[in-house]
């Protein structure tokens, strides 16, 4: 292919990507509504912060599952790793400023992701599920074992957060916590959006569809998978760190199987492959859970289960058909 042709091709690809990356009306509305909750719903900021953190966590899994086709039941491994990292940074005064600690925790979690990425390169879906789960459970045991460092089953004590950017101190009403979480979510969302609407993102899409063919046309399949796995691990680590910073507490539950399983449910509920699925799923799931638990503290699980069953029977696609406008071009499911 001569230079003129490849230049032409490159610009066509860039145009195509630019078209897909245009901001559509529903997206803008979504973020405007989110920003509005900062002022409109002060009483709900505590649970909204949890939703934002869960949304970020689900976003990171979406990058894996929706864009690269890697299913994981152990994503909590990175979440927990980031959570404890942030907790330890602040407890021992290593990195006092929360945003820096957040980035550092994310980097450490990404390193862990890189180190364990080779585990998900081979095998069937079931293999990946179990291997990732195994890693998360081993980490949980390690955290329990080294309880001098992590506080073990009692949880990490003495995590006291300095004010964000030196100015905004965390308050009991959760307002600063929510604003902080939402801001982090938005920024990371933008970065993720940039990445999926790039040649790297296109490569991921093709290897999700057919890894053999992708390899045949010269895409370094394993390299891309390792890349996205590391990136998603970093995001999960930041979500975990955010949780520790906002709640100023960290315990072994950050590694639990329940956390990974709930995450999978949240993401499937919202839909994979278009970045908003995790966020929408987090909002729906958490609000539903909160509402049901208020009505029946003991048996809310039954109703949540019923809703999940009903959603599947009715058809997930029909439930989230209205998000088709956003999904339109990315052809997600």
């Amino acid at each position: 292919m001569n230079r003129a042709d490849s230049a032409g091709l490159a610009s066509r690809v860039a145009q195509h990507l630019a078209r897909r990356a245009r901001w559509r009306a529903p997206e803008i509305l979504f973020w405007l509504a989110a920003a509005a909750t900062l002022f409109a719903l002060p009483g709900k900021h505590l649970i909204l912060a949890e939703i934002a953190i869960l949304g970020l966590f689900a976003l990171s899994l979406d990058l894996l599952l929706g864009y690269a086709g890697i299913i994981s039941l152990g994503h909590a491994a990175f979440f927990g790793f980031g959570a404890y990292a942030a907790g330890l940074f602040s407890k021992h005064g290593l990195i006092a400023e929360p945003v820096l600690a957040l980035l550092a925790a994310g980097a450490i979690a990404a390193a862990l992701g890189f180190a364990t990425s080779f585990l998900v390169l081979r095998g069937s879906d079931l293999t990946r599920l179990m291997v990732t789960l195994g890693v998360a459970l081993v980490l949980r045991e390690l955290a329990n074992r080294f309880d001098g460092l992590t506080g073990g089953a009692d949880g990490l004590q003495g995590v006291v957060m300095a004010p964000v950017l030196g100015r905004f101190a965390f308050d009991i009403g959760g307002h600063v916590g929510y604003a902080y979480s939402l801001a982090v979510l938005f920024v990371l969302f933008l970065v993720a959006r940039r990445i999926v609407h790039s040649p790297f993102g296109l490569a991921l899409g093709s290897l999700k569809g057919n890894p053999l063919r992708a390899a045949a046309i010269g895409i370094p399949v394993n390299g891309r998978l390792v890349g996205i796995y590391t990136f998603a691990a970093g995001y999960a680590g930041i979500a975990g760190a955010l949780l520790t910073q906002v709640t100023q507490f960290c315990s072994l539950d950050v590694f639990s199987f329940e956390r990974s399983a709930d995450l999978l449910v949240v993401l499937i509920l919202g839909g994979t492959g278009y970045l908003y699925g995790g966020l929408i799923g987090a909002v729906l799931f958490k609000l539903m859970q909160d509402w049901l638990a208020a009505m029946t503290p003991q048996y809310w699980q039954f109703w949540v289960g019923l809703v999940l069953v009903a959603v599947v029977l009715v058809g997930r696609e029909r439930m989230t058909a209205w998000t088709g406008v956003i999904r339109g071009s990315s052809g997600a499911r």
């Binding site: 329990n144 009692d154 507490f249 539950d253 503290p297």
Partner: protein, 390 residues
Amino acid sequence: MFRGKWLAAGIAFAVAAGVTQAQDAVKIGLILPMTGGQASTGKQIEAAVRLYMAQNGTTIAGRKIELVVKDDGAVPDNTKRIAQELIVNDKVSFLAGFGVTPAALAVAPLATQAKVPQIVMAAGTSIITERSPYIARTSFTLAQSSVIIAEWAAKNGIRKVVTLVSDYAPGAEAQNSFKERFAAGGGSVVAELKVPLATPDFAPFLQRARDASPDAVFVFVPSGQGGTFAKQFAERGLDKSGIKLIGPGDVMDDDLLNGMGDAVLGAVTAHLYSASHPSATNRAFVDAFKKANNGMRPNFMAVGGYDGMHLIYEALKKTKGVTDGDALMGAMKGMQWESPRGPISIDPETRDIVQNIYIRRVERIGGELYNTEFATFEAVKDPVKAAAKK
């Protein structure tokens, strides 16, 4: 560290709202694990709390008492968020419940910040009450039972013991308290076995315990696993080979005892409460509890909830309905009363519970299994904090 503009505004708002609500309802936020592995604890405590309110009415000093029950699933970040919401949105005057130690610890800083009394009705680690001056406990500490059984064992011909505990903080605490007191009494711990928390099968650990041929095995496992453990203990023939089963009474939980079968007859444990405690107060309590809950027998968690409510009610009576955190804590310190478990009091220095610990043996009475008390150690304070003071 937290002193920012937001905090001052938030607290001022809450206090102002509290003042304007002077004659409004007193809300109690009850945070319990109602789902998940600890659900039976949550059920027992909620039932006991409601029983107390049914028996003693819902008006104190002219103010109505309202209960808000929330499930935290024993996940501490849930507990913390729920507690925050209860404080800021529902403006509760008391936080109560807390099924596991990390849940209680997570909420401690909130209690301090908001000056809201935190009544721990279930969690049992020593350090909890030290984490906030607004914490009072009506449940127990593991160390209380562990050292008492150590004393009893040392005085009753048990020389060699193998300890078998779950591998997490409460297990370590139970084991260490036992070991210290037992060694002081002349006994020796020949092997210390730690069982992973999620273990389905105790077989290898029981085999190791048997290999060491001790006089007794000291056991602590979380209340959900006690039954399986006791059954496997008997299945393995440890009781037949003369090895006794001792430990804190968590293993012989009244809630589960009947289902365990004759395998556990004769097991000796030390604990704060037995459903067969021979006092009129207890008989009335057990009968009323069973009647209100389909024949369910109350256990040591239930009694923690019952007494916790008593503490709240009496404190309110003393302050004549004023819900200022400091006044309430002052009212609670040193309070003494007769609980279904026996005489108890709240230690004014540590705000922890001081109670009798009984040595009991499992016996079959009237077709059902009960822990029959045969020795009493009176007014036992938490040994860990008491030792630290010396």
